[in-house]
Symmetry: C2
Subunit: 494 residues, 2 copies
């Protein structure tokens, strides 16, 4: 250590792509997570909290050819044994590891929920962060589509529980097996050709049916003027895919009819449609109508990844984007069935289905609608008029707290009284308590109603100012009761 | 990618030194964190959640001489700019960074609390984990010992709030300045000699006053038979240190008297004693007597690190160690004043004081005392007698949930009914609901009281078995009410 060298001062910065959360941003997210956990728990899901760190091997990111296996994850090498560890990038990979590791101890089916941060080693950008919250529920070990239906219904219940009213969201359900049926009907047996079609379908949200038709055929000129090569299918060949994507009709019965036409004779396709029909029936029996959960074959997100039913929750109300243009808020949760979850570890296929809620997006949605956010009331601030009487001020704060009122004593330099009131304003305190030696002798305190004070300062005439004093004297014995009345009055007025 | 090579199966293991938490272990910790947050919040502390990741530079772990600056932390290098990032190892370093970065926006003083995991890159061992929870409260920007007193009182309140009764804990307070006074009196002006004495004092908990006396002098034969060299002070020189460490008397007044003798003419020593006296006065005024917070100069933990008052919370009850021998539970929280917090970043000294609660240890203590832990009641399990009537079973579960009762439908293969009841047992379900086609036709369900059933199976005579059936038939319409009665009865019986 070069002790005599003067070290450069470190920079005080949040690392790129990471965020700090203050005050109400912390408590609002916590309240949302609590609500979601309660809904999941009531459905029989048990909490699981794995460590933030996994072996890179267990995460499935181990590529033997590369030097640093950290593409997409934050990884580092252990010093003693050279093992690579990494931060989890989602909640599903740790679940797969746990389901394999503890398969003899866990109940089967195993319903679990998990919530917490995940980390992505991606280039940060506007609105793209490298740490964010996920909130997952999964059922491991059930092949029944009743498990999928349960997840969809629970998702709808959860959205309503956190404050999205019915009508402002829709859970949409599709099924990979139906698409497989379509591909079968098309005669695409070649894996590479199927992958091409899957990749193309993924762009349906962006380019629409005509765009997909072009991309499945000869190709397409995109918005930037670049020509995107097509898959090279004939129009006839491409048609079943388009029929599938656009099969949603006014009634579920008609949608199923359209799907049956799209899959033709395919057995897996028929199986997929039957699954969707069962899901719709199960949900209807529990009171989830198509206003909450609907079968919608245009849901393409995750079709490449999942092996059966696929779901997505969308918020359907409009918000204004950063340029003031109205746009749909869009997706806040997604999931589906993935039956190879545990197989990587044990060789044994274990059916599983689950959903992941993007908590940060959901919070943003509620804030955009004004249903959350804004400021939290600060503590009552007991000011310090006389430094030698600190014990009295502390006793006042303790008394307020004992009565359930958030309170603190000003702990900065008390010399400048104006600074104490400025501090109370910055804290968004509802009330400041003032007691000089004169008041102490007379057994009284001054109570300053800061909310009323600010209101009067903004708008009141001189007469109102006089008739509605924002500061008044109360006996020390009445202090707690009077302050409580002020705070309760303000809360009522909100 | 060698696609044709059969990949080795990954091992499903929690990484060394990390843990997974299931069910009640998650909810109990959450409940404790919630309670602690509530106490902190009521004292005017605001939540802060920084990202898990910091720049190594900001953490203060940057050593320009070493290749991998990750001694003690989990660190990795960014690919684009070569910066080193790391997981936070405590909550104080991120607070220092935030206090510097946002110094113009935060109120001053800034009271904040933070809770979450921290990571240590240490050799894991029994009971030593590489990820654990901390729960901190700090006041930044107040030089007043009233801030220290507030933290000590809040710590006592917090311990009681989480379920440690008065008498089972003690918050002990010492002051680094008093020790500085002692060192001054000893005529130790040499930094190296002071460091030697500080390091020796650190062993007071282990070796006691006589051991410290030997270690300050010629040296000492330790328990393993190794000879530990001493600092080389004369007995006369060492005496003030021993006097300081053993100065605690039956009354605070006598303790202060003893301390005054130990620091002699030292100005900083007198200042330290005055601070302790003020802290004792402030706490007494709020009702914190020496049964909850006491001045105790034998607290040595952190004396090397902190710059003023130092506090430690200890649980005073006995538990049995792994060999069944009784021992004191010991420390569950510690903290103190550290006035150089922000200086590293800005060059400007900012006074700060705070405390960190070891949540995992506190949970262990409550479990050791039987005040927490054990099992949580599972959900009501609606069994599946008839696969084609899944929608009816789902509707039953939905109805139970709507009534606030945790419930789920069995989602495994329903063929073997015994497996369904085994599943319900494993889930610790209070009740199983059974409805075959016969019951469905008659509009009834079978309700099986699993708690009562287990009790009867254990101990009942044949007569009791008959008179107290654990399974009975109820009309479908009465199902929810009857199940609620069973669950409430069980909860009352606990």
């Amino acid at each position: 250590m070069a002790k005599d060298k003067k070290p450069r001062r470190p920079k005080a910065v949040t690392p790129k792509g990471f965020r700090d959360y203050f005050g109400v941003d912390v408590t609002e997210r916590k309240a949302m997570l609590d609500t979601i956990a309660e809904v999941y728990h009531r459905h029989g899901f048990d909490p699981l909290e794995t460590s933030a760190v996994e072996t890179v091997e267990a995460l499935g990111k181990f590529l033997p050819d590369v030097d640093r296996p950290n593409a997409g994850v934050f990884a580092w090498q252990e010093e003693d044994d050279g093992d690579w560890l990494a931060l989890r990038y989602d909640m599903t990979a740790p679940l797969a590891r746990v389901a394999a590791q503890f398969r003899n101890d866990l109940p089967s089916p195993y319903r679990r929920y998990a919530m917490g941060p995940v980390w992505r080693n991606e280039k940060p950008g506007p609105g793209r962060f490298r740490q964010f919250y996920q909130c997952d529920a999964d059922t491991v070990g059930s092949a029944s589509v009743a498990a999928d239906a349960e997840i969809c219904g629970m998702l709808a219940d959860t959205l309503e529980a956190v404050g999205i009213p019915r009508g402002d969201y829709i859970v949409r359900v599709n099924n990979r097996k139906v698409l497989n049926g379509v591909l079968e009907t098309m005669g695409l047996s070649d894996d590479a050709a199927r992958d091409d079609v899957l990749r193309t379908i993924d762009k349906f949200d962006k380019v629409g049916a005509d765009g997909v038709r072009q991309l499945l055929g000869k190709g397409r000129l995109d918005a930037s003027g670049a020509y995107i090569d097509g898959v090279g299918l004939s129009d006839d060949q491409a048609e079943p895919v388009i029929a599938f994507l656009t099969s949603k009709a006014d009634t579920a019965a008609q949608t199923f009819e359209n799907l049956r036409a799209a899959v033709g004779e395919s057995k897996v396709g028929a199986e997929g449609i039957a699954e969707l029909e069962t899901i719709a029936e199960l949900l209807a029996a529990q009171g989830f109508g198509p206003d909450r959960v609907e079968i919608d074959p245009s849901v393409v997100r995750g079709l490449g990844y999942y092996t059966g039913p696929v779901f997505e929750a969308e918020l359907t109300f409009e918000i204004k984007d950063e340029k003031g243009r109205p746009r749909q808020f869009g997706s806040v949760a997604g999931g589906g069935r993935y039956d190879d979850l545990v197989k990587r570890f044990t060789g044994q296929a274990v059916p599983a289905t689950g959903v992941s809620i993007g908590v940060d997006r959901l919070l943003a949605a509620l804030r955009a609608k004004g249903r959350m956010g804004g400021s939290e009331q600060g503590p009552v601030v007991v000011t310090v008029m006389d430094k030698t009487r600190m014990a009295d001020y502390q006793a006042m704060a303790a008394e307020l707290r004992a009565a359930g009122i958030r309170a603190e004593v000003y702990l900065g330099n008390p010399k400048n009284f104006g600074n104490q009131l400025k501090y109370a304003d910055k804290r968004q305190s509802p009330v400041a308590v003032i007691q000089g030696s004169d008041e102490a002798e007379r057994g009284v305190v001054q109570v300053k109603d800061l909310v009323l004070g600010a209101k009067i300062a903004q708008s009141a005439s001189l007469e109102e100012w006089k008739s509605q004093p924002a500061q008044f004297e109360v006996s020390r014995a009445d202090m707690v009761a009077r302050i409580r009345a002020i705070i309760e009055g303000e809360n009522d007025a909100v």
